[in-house]
Symmetry: C2
Subunit: 216 residues, 2 copies
Amino acid sequence: MRHCIIVVGGYINDIFAKEFIEKERPELCIAADSGMNFFYRNKLTPDWIIGDFDSASSEALDYFGGQPDISWIRLNPVKDDTDTESAIRKAIALGAEKITLLGATGTRIDHLLGNIELLGIGLQNHIPIQIVDERNRIRMIGAGITLEKEKQFGKFVSLIPYTNVVKGLTLTGFKYPLDHYDFKGFCSLGVSNEIIAESAEIAFEEGILIVIEARD
Amino acid sequence: MRHCIIVVGGYINDIFAKEFIEKERPELCIAADSGMNFFYRNKLTPDWIIGDFDSASSEALDYFGGQPDISWIRLNPVKDDTDTESAIRKAIALGAEKITLLGATGTRIDHLLGNIELLGIGLQNHIPIQIVDERNRIRMIGAGITLEKEKQFGKFVSLIPYTNVVKGLTLTGFKYPLDHYDFKGFCSLGVSNEIIAESAEIAFEEGILIVIEARD
């Protein structure tokens, strides 16, 4: 099983998300709690529904409750982990080799930052996890990557240090290049870079980096 | 000079922002680049306008350009720092003792994370800096704080470790308490806590914590 898409209960652009799912044809779809409202609204069926269901609509709960092909995990509302974290861990247990979170952004910044933290579960398990919405593709990387200009998401590439320092950061093929720079926080240096070559390379010696491809 | 409000060019709810400014009566208002559009729309006048003006409207530029009481700093568009970082550094140079960023959230997640990084400039300079919108109040703390339930912003309090570990985190007066816990990332443990006593205390021995008070 290759790609798993988890739909979370944050902000979601239905048109973008439906097109993304149609294009990716994921082997597994999981609704995390009120993420099921997206499937209900768009006449799609998730493979799994996971949550404490404190925020799902009763219509969606009733509708999916009667369907035999859906597996359910009902979580205790008093718990340490969010529904999204449980869904990610379930996807990995089910054999996901790549995970995309949809509906993981939105106006509750604490939810967004919590979801970005969860990208680290991918690093721990050697599985790429990404958060995608119509303006952003967010990843967390522990080793260098190459971005091809033709395939990039949006116009801008921004880098945010996740660890206190990202050592020896070298950027090539970017408008603002860097050469073995020790990249630390408390500054806006990494925001809104652009790829100017056919491909751009992000390399570093130590640390973890958040990579955001974005468009206005 | 006490409170400085910096309006940034991200998402802004005019009604919320105007009420916030009226209530706070800041001694200093700075427009960072297209943050000036907010002042123009709402017939308010900033004290300083700082930016490379690649995203400000020509109407706002013309309108404020003719006003003698506004100080301007025109930045080079090819620069390492964002307009927001320059505005924060200017506010500190002008003697700000507290800084609030409005318009610092929105749909470009890289801009948001970049702005959250800038909260660390407050820690370095011993000045509280906060990002506020109608759903979130975001702070970065290097030492313990007390939150009074009556004065809290919204219903939820979420904690995100900024340093790789926040050592010995103790939460009292919260629905989900902690006792000398070494709080690390890659999990959603700190999201959506709630204050259940008259006041709640966040204490820790080492590290930097992001505190988000939020409402749905």
